[in-house]
């Protein structure tokens, strides 16, 4: 038996399994099934339409077109930033289906252009900030200019994405670092997002975020007087009476995408609050 003799058997098994997977997702969408489909789509996207993969591509394309038409892909993409890449891949496959109509992509197009679809901005920011810090140590870590990407808008428009977690706080901190290192002048153009999150933290009484965001707004992005008084009022209620750190952070803000332990966040927030208390007090008296 030659290796190529196995192709029909492998194809039959793959077809059977993919069909099951597609049905499973259609019947009861789950993240596991979605990512399993995504993993298959990744490799099929690299094939040059060989005869062997035609049935698999056909099944995947038809399913993707059906989901695009019925709105499932929009729901999935809006639900989680982690699903956006595979949603894009499935939209790409949907185009190869007979059932695809160009107008089917309209909602995804609007969501994307309106910046309601999450993109992972952190890798780009990480590269920029890493290069900026290493360059201060005489280490060249740039791989050329990052292009004409407008990072300030990219970050500020995160305010339009549903829900936030620690990932967003880290993105704002990185923005502030780039400003401080003189690599960017975002301070006047990144305003909506930190302010929106700060108000959310006031309203949800999240002292962990409140401390970090107040520090960032006081030092970099601006803190209007009316927001300052609300922040001071909240901060006072959480200040430890004796020697101690701020309370443990709320657990529902943890990010699946970056690792941050509660211990580190607690320490971070305590330091952040400590650093801006003087500013807050002075302006309060002023």
């Amino acid at each position: 038996m030659t290796l190529s003799d196995s192709v029909p058997k492998l194809l039959a098994a793959s077809q059977e399994e993919l069909e099951k997977l597609l049905d499973e997702f259609e019947g009861s969408p789950s993240l596991d099934a979605f990512f399993d489909i995504g993993a298959t789509a990744e490799i099929l996207s690299l094939d040059r339409r060989s005869e062997e993969t035609t049935p698999l591509v056909g099944m995947l394309s038809n399913a993707a077109a059906r989901w695009l038409w019925s709105g499932i892909l929009e729901d999935v993409a809006f639900a989680s930033v982690g699903c956006v890449y595979h949603t894009a891949l499935l939209c790409y496959f949907a185009q190869y289906s007979d059932k695809y109509h160009p107008s089917d992509i309209k909602t995804i197009k609007r969501l994307s252009e309106g910046r309601l679809l999450g993109r992972s901005d952190l890798p780009l920011l990480t590269q920029e900030v890493t290069a900026a810090y290493l360059s201060r140590c005489q280490v060249s870590a740039t791989f050329g200019v990052s292009g004409k990407r407008d990072l300030a808008t990219l970050i500020d428009k995160r305010a339009l994405r549903a829900r936030s977690d620690e990932y967003d706080i880290m993105a704002i901190i990185m923005c502030a670092q780039l400003v401080q290192l003189g690599c960017a002048s975002y301070e006047s153009r990144v305003r909506l997002f930190p302010r929106t999150l700060l108000i959310e933290s006031v309203r949800s009484d999240n002292i962990n975020w409140l401390s970090a965001l107040t520090f960032l707004c006081v030092r970099m992005f601006g803190l209007p007087p009316w927001l300052r008084s609300a922040v001071v009022e909240r901060a006072i209620t959480h200040l430890p009476e004796g020697v101690g750190l701020l309370p443990w952070p709320q657990s529902d803000k943890e990010s699946d995408l970056i690792q941050r332990t509660a211990r580190g966040l607690r320490l971070r927030s305590t330091v952040a609050l400590m650093l801006c208390l003087n500013d807050l007090e002075n302006s309060d008296h002023g």
Partner: protein, 287 residues
């Protein structure tokens, strides 16, 4: 600050069809039917659309009859604010639907019979204010003293629980007083936060207040964008998280998410369009 195109004429027609279809499916669910009817009223009377209101008048007559003939109306859980708003919109278009008037008479009577503690609540004052516009002799009581102090202190709004801030917004609607720059910014930012966390009804309510009576700012326009982009291909609004709500049927999703989201979206777009068309700063009656 980018200008937002909330809704084209074609999109409005599609959304109207969507609301009508939901109304037909859920005619027996009176509260949902009234929501769909009010959404249609909003679409029909958004400046620039001017849809025919006759069918809406007929449908409002039909549903009012159903409500009035029901043995236990409380069970229907209808929103009196929406009923009064529908009446107001139809009356503004010169359509006096007799049986709808009867229903609103009933609401006005029930409101007048409430105690002071109820009649000084924001939402009740708001309904009373609308009834006054419809010609009912109905005192809109002053808010209690601590509420008045709250209304004058926007910085405190940030820390208010949702129900209390919602009450503040209702008092502003009831009194039709303008929001200054700072109050508008606070309301818009809180609205944006609520919208991102998918509390669309509350977020849209605060935004309607800003667009009808406040200073339109970048924050308000961005929040409006967020709502406009919730549009689905079927003309409805709102995205579901399929991984969290898989156990819900399509019908459940329509009633719990899409219909309220659609109603809130078109109500907001109408409010914005009215503001643009007449520069109204004193609060429009049906916002």
């Amino acid at each position: 600050m980018g200008e937002t195109t909330c809704l084209s004429f074609e999109q409005a027609i599609k959304t109207d069809r969507y609301c009508r279809a939901l109304g037909d499916i859920y005619f027996n669910n009176t509260a949902a039917y009234i929501q769909s009817l009010f959404a249609r009223c909003c679409l029909a009377t958004t400046p620039g659309f001017n849809f025919d209101l006759r069918k809406i008048a007929e449908d409002s007559s039909r549903i009012a009859k159903t409500v009035l003939s029901h043995l236990n109306r409380d069970e229907l859980a209808i929103d009196p604010l929406l009923v009064v708003q529908i009446r107001l919109i139809l009356m503004s278009a010169g359509m006096d639907v007799a049986i709808l008037r009867e229903l609103v008479d009933l609401i006005a009577g029930e409101l007048a019979g409430q105690g002071e503690d109820i009649r000084t609540q924001g939402r009740v004052r708001r309904i009373a204010s609308l009834l006054t516009s419809l010609g009912y002799v109905n005192d809109v009581l002053e808010p209690p003293g601590d509420t008045l102090r709250l209304l004058d202190n926007p910085a405190v709004w940030l820390g208010l629980p949702t129900a209390q801030l919602s009450d503040v917004a209702d008092h502003f609607f009831a009194d039709k007083v303008g929001l200054d720059d700072m109050s508008s910014q606070i309301m818009s930012l809180v609205a944006l936060g609520e919208l991102r966390n998918y509390r669309l009804d509350f977020g849209c309510k605060l935004l309607r207040l800003v667009f009808s009576q406040g200073v339109i700012c970048l924050e308000a326009n961005e929040a409006l964008n967020f709502v406009a982009l919730q549009r689905r291909r079927d003309g409805g609004y709102g995205f579901v998280n399929p991984f969290l709500e898989a156990e819900q049927s399509e019908g459940d999703k329509a009633l719990s998410l899409h219909l309220p989201a659609t109603l809130n979206a078109v109500w907001l777009f109408r409010t914005k369009a009215l503001r643009r068309s007449d520069g109204n700063l004193g609060g429009c009656l049906a916002c």
